[in-house]
């Protein structure tokens, strides 16, 4: 089969720190060294692999390094990797929005993406005019759009308003219209980034449905980025695993997922300082901000009967918040949510600025295995309404093993609530001074 996408030793370098301005002096230096003295570019040598948890020793970083792979026409490829592994950069390079620092990319056929719905819509223009404009931006010709115009309008469900300026549309109508155009683009290569489409379940479902149609039909190529291993396994034929900007595994989708999950929690993590990397939803209010999360551990696996102690250090930015609810969510090694512990309203009347919450989960009912922990602080009180202050994902990793005593006496495992997803525990605000000695 013909090759649809070809990445030839592609690397992409970013500069940390000052993003917006490259300095004139560095550019002059580069120009002097490469053009006048004919030596290798000094700024391409420095730069480490993209491990974001460690502080970089260089101000240049490789978002992608030496990416080399081919995708056959008609293949459905899942791209897996943790947040910050370089998935989005890879898609950006493929869609030619930005160019690679070194290497070359060949893509045959039109590339369509289901993320950029309604790009280039002009509020002053009518729905019909915007269909043409948006379609042309995505690479359609006028005749092509005219041929599909009725279908697009029909699909969007905006017939009545099609000659009304888009600024009078509701946001939902705008999205529907944009999606209708994208859906009729019929690209040779379709890019679906589920990670970025998070938040709108209906849209996500539509995008996945469209993807299924495209891939099962006329031999089109699909690139699918998702954190959901089940949908990767279900929808994709092959997979690419990205870690810190490097391709660490390629194979069938099932093998790639298995490889990814086997690496899950290889390194346990009992303490984490929260950074933006942990936040999947950057738009939370963060009126209460999570600072650090940690759990006590003596360097060993937890026993099934051992309580889990969590210390969550937070900062209260708004003084008028009287109480908040802390949720601790547990995922298994397939990244599936097992359940969560939800505290009662924590009294924060007397708290100012930094404070720490200690949660002890006494009877966790977790079977042997590795787990990741997510944290969420918010308002879950019916009277004050639902509100998320801050959410962080997969920050702590720990594993549970059967302790020796229980191994001898497995009958102890049989007890009420086994496997139940209700986590019960106690929760208290402790003073920060005491906490410093503890953590």
């Amino acid at each position: 089969m013909a090759t649809a996408i070809e990445f030839n030793h592609v690397s992409k370098q970013y500069r940390l720190g000052l993003v917006s301005t490259r300095t004139l002096s560095n550019d002059l230096k580069r120009w002097w060294v490469t053009s006048i003295m004919g030596k290798e570019d000094p700024f391409l040598k420095i730069g480490s692999t993209n491990d974001r948890s460690k502080k970089a020793d260089s101000e240049y970083v490789w978002a992608l390094k030496d990416i080399d792979f081919k995708v056959e026409r008609g293949d459905v490829v899942g791209i897996i990797g943790k947040n910050g592994a370089g998935k989005s950069t890879l898609l950006k390079l493929l869609s030619k929005v930005t160019g690679p620092t070194t290497g070359s990319i060949k893509a045959r056929g039109r590339i369509g993406s289901l993320l950029e719905v309604g790009t280039g819509f002009h509020p002053e223009m009518t729905g019909r005019e915007n269909i043409y404009l948006n379609g042309a931006i995505l690479g359609m010709t006028k005749t092509e759009i005219s041929r599909k115009l009725d279908e697009i309008i029909d699909f969007s469900g905006c017939e009545r308003y099609i000659d009304t300026p888009v600024k009078r549309y509701s946001s939902g109508m705008t999205v529907r219209l944009g999606f209708a155009v994208a859906a009729f683009l019929e690209p040779e290569i379709l890019v679906v980034d589920e990670v970025l489409a998070v938040g709108d379940a209906e849209f996500q479902k539509k995008a996945i449905g469209k993807m299924k149609d495209v891939s099962s039909g006329e031999g089109r190529t699909v690139l699918f980025v998702s954190h959901n291993m089940a949908s990767i396994r279900q929808l994709c034929r092959s997979g690419i695993l990205l870690e810190n900007g490097l391709v660490t595994y390629t194979g069938t989708a099932t093998d790639t997922v298995a490889h990814y999950l086997s690496g899950f929690g290889d390194t346990m993590c009992y303490h984490a300082d929260i950074t933006m990397e942990h936040r999947e939803f950057a738009n939370t209010t963060r009126e209460i901000e999570l600072l650090t999360v940690s759990m006590t551990n003596d360097g060993d696996d937890y026993a099934t009967n051992q309580p889990l102690d969590f210390y969550v250090r937070m900062y209260k930015h708004k003084n008028n918040i009287e109480s908040a609810t802390l949720e601790i969510m547990f995922n298994n090694s397939s990244c599936d949510r097992l359940g969560s512990y939800i505290s009662g309203p924590i009294d924060l009347k007397d708290v100012q600025g930094e404070f720490t919450v200690h949660v002890r989960i006494v009877d966790h009912h977790l079977a042997k295995g590795t787990y990741s922990v997510c944290f969420q602080i918010g308002q879950k009180d019916i009277h004050s309404g639902l509100k998320d202050y801050d959410i962080v994902h997969n920050v702590l990793f720990f594993s549970v093993a059967y302790s020796d005593q229980i191994k001898k006496d497995t009958i102890v495992l049989w007890r009420k609530n086994w496997g139940s997803t209700v986590f019960q525990g106690d929760c208290e605000v402790i003073s920060d001074r005491r906490n410093r000695n503890l953590v």
Binding site: Y14, V19, S20, T21, R22, L24, D27, K92, S95, K96, V97, T98, G99, S104, I105, K106, A107, I111, S113, L115, E116, T119, G120, H122, E124, M125, E129, Y132, L133, A136, I137, L138, G139, M140, T141, K142
Partner: protein
Amino acid sequence: MPKDKLLAVDLKELWRYRDLFTLFVKRNITTQYKQTILGPAWFVVQPILTVFMYMVVFGGIAGIGTDGIPQPLFYLAGTCFWHYFSDCLDKTSNTFVSNAGLFGKVYFPRLVTPLSNVTSNLLRFGIQMGLFIVVYLIYAIQGDCPASPNWYLLLFPFLVMMIAGLALGFGLLITSMTTKYRDLSILFSFLVSLWMYATPIVYPLSMVKGKVAAGMDLYTIMRLNPVTPVLETFKYGALGAGEFIGWGWLLYSLAFLCALLFLGVLVFNKTQKSFMDTV
């Protein structure tokens, strides 16, 4: 991917996006005057007020001559051309910054955007030229008008294309540089406003003849400004103002334009690959 050849314009690709070009032109034109009271009338109000100011300041207070041409006609000819030039330059030199949102999401040949801007600005230029013709006719009907057109006016379409090309070339260079170093945009907008005074708009070129400043022949320096020969040819062709600048200088402008466009497109193409990381 754009090829890494020296002149990396994929003309075939650009041709494939010709529909986008026409749609952009249409968008620019239709959205320009939506939700304004006067609408396209603004295109006429602006040059009238400008010419009025020039008549007061340069013609009245400073007493600068106009080669015997009625002041409104002389100033109008200059401002219409200069406005078209500076509008195109301004739009083109902001291509990357003002389209960052769009460029960051979808790929299409970036050159489509400045090309469509230069084209849609022609509408405004056309309306202002219409104003020029109306004023001209008023003077002609009144009789005793010292201005008269000659055969050089046939160069008009060609002159407009040259102005558009020069604005595009400079604009492409500027937008490529300012994505990296923002402070340059302050410098450039300042320079462009000064540039107008280095172009014979508020004074006739003949006035500069024989003048020496800082040991340099001003007449030669003025003509080295690539906009001058184009503007002078128009003013001579339409009004018979002064004398024809000569084919040599016009050819110089054309050569300058070609070199500038080549360089501009080259730098622009190089920038478009990485600008999303610097914006």
